[in-house]
Amino acid sequence: MIISVASGKGGTGKTTIATSLAISALEDVQLLDCDVEEPNAHIFIKPKIDSKESIGVLVPQIDANKCVLCGRCTRICAFNALAIIPNKILVFSELCHSCGACQYICPVKAINEVKKELGTIKIGQKNNIKFIQGELNIGEAIPIPIIKAVKEYIVANKLVIIDAPPGTSCPMIESTKNSDFCLLVTEPTPFGLSDLILTIEVLKKLKISYGVVINRAGLGDEKTEQYCQLNDIPILMKIPFQKEIALTYAKGIPIVEAFPEYKIIFRKVITDIMEIISRDSA
């Protein structure tokens, strides 16, 4: 079972929820940090890292001796990653999507694809948690290949928890795609609600079932809860706004460790999700 934890708006508590779910689980679990631009789950899990894998993409390299400066590669590239100047072809590798069109079209085979590192995957263990984290290198623009590589580690029939990045576009979609369930963490403010609605639209399009966690409950207004009730969206948990909880988060202490009574609540969230999934598939 794959549960992804997403939010639309950043800073609503995705990492808090994802890490606490993993710690509370009674079985072995894989925790995937797919927020590869800003991975934070390691701060709370503190796993022992056993291995690393470098993740790269293929980008074109022009052999100047073979190149006849016909410019076909620059015209076929849909991403402006290649440009022609009077005596050479320039490659802007950060714009490249690695589609391979340029090397295919080159009439004189002057283009080789070479691996360029985009980031790293770290693999570790902590108690019942197999921890897999992707991290985008500084200055790189495209996180998708790293997210895909992290998800390659998914073992079928295991409980998998994915900490997804904020937003509603490609990184969030790639992270939540093929999940059995998506847990949406929101906060009770107009910002939280506006982004929650956008995220729900995305999940509907991806055909993924979802439920909501309201974090910092009591801080803002009632409209998020009303919205969920009106639209029959299950609210699986509410975490009140308390300075003590905020403080443990600040120090990198998981809520279930500072307040062990939450473990039972998180376990209940997992069983509730299982029920929803089996009901939906029935």
């Binding site: 996180p143 937003g167 979609i173 905020a246």
Partner: protein, 285 residues
């Protein structure tokens, strides 16, 4: 004309609240919401849309079933696994690279221009505002950000505005790079948590990689004084100017709930603090 962008690395640290306050405070400027994935600034500024435009992000390959001879060349060579066994293109997976279009030996593939969102030029009581909405499950937010920035700069030059003030998105990848490049200052809003500092540090490295000057604001600083001291030390060690510290204050939450900027609240201390922070930001840029 100078460009200021508000970013954070970590989400939810207060970018939009602070940008909203600057919108209300600063004169002769244009405001841009560059967080096209999850835009929220419109909630505070209550814009009247004056001009609506579609965002054409690129192309989507479409295979004509009647012409196709099922050679599967396109399916084999598509690096994005966007073409399934029935030879139908998945519009979410297709990145619009056009490779299949060039490959097809019998021209059975056409390219459809993809509409991936909308962008708006609006009026607010605080002046002009450019914002956008990415379509549901659409990609290419970086391209949309570059487009609305270009538009904002053109308007600012034409109307001789002093400032382009931009609300950025979380993260360090393509949308962030699209909104910070060539700006005069990136203001990084962080919070006194381990995650806040970890993420601020990464986005500061990105800003420096692109040679953008950085200044820091610590928001909700009094939620964890110990961590605030750590961040202050980080700023000293990295020679970054700390332009202000904003306390956690229920009036800030209340103003969000009432969809107002904090400059409209009755909290004079807070308003004075925002003014001081802005003055610190524009010093020496």
């Amino acid at each position: 004309m100078k460009q200021i962008v508000i970013i954070s690395g970590k989400g939810g640290t207060g970018k939009t609240v602070i940008t909203g306050a600057f919108a209300a405070l600063v004169c002769n400027k244009i405001i841009v919401d560059c967080d096209v994935d999850a835009p929220d600034l419109y909630l505070l500024l209550n814009p009247k849309i004056k001009e609506k435009n579609v965002f054409k992000s690129g192309y989507l390959a479409v295979i004509d079933k009647n012409t196709c001879v099922k050679c599967r060349k396109c399916q084999k060579l598509c690096r994005f696994k966007a073409i399934n066994d029935e030879l139908i293109v998945d519009p979410i997976a297709c990145e619009g690279c056009k490779f299949c279009y060039y490959l097809c030996p019998i021209n059975a593939i056409t390219l459809q221009e993809k509409i991936s969102g909308e962008w708006f030029v609006s009026e607010t009581k605080y002046g002009q505002f450019i914002h956008a909405k990415l379509g549901i499950a659409e990609a290419n937010s970086g391209k949309l950000i570059s487009l609305i920035r270009k538009e904002a700069i053109a308007i600012a030059e034409n109307k001789q505005y002093d400032w382009v003030i931009m609300d950025g998105s979380p993260g360090v990848g393509c949308p962030v790079i699209a909104c910070i490049s060539n700006t005069n200052c990136a203001v990084v809003v962080t919070e006194p948590t381990l995650s806040g500092l970890h993420d601020a540090d990464r986005v500061i490295q990105v800003a420096r990689h692109f040679k953008v000057p950085v200044k820091v604001i610590i928001n909700k600083y009094d939620l964890n004084n110990e961590m605030t001291i750590t961040i202050e030390q980080y700023c000293i060690d990295n020679k970054i100017s700390l332009v202000g510290k904003i306390p956690f204050d229920q009036t800030i939450v209340d103003s969000i709930v009432h969809k107002k900027t904090i400059m409209e609240s009755s909290n004079m201390v807070l308003r004075g603090l925002i003014k001081q922070i802005w003055d610190n930001i524009i010093e020496n840029i």
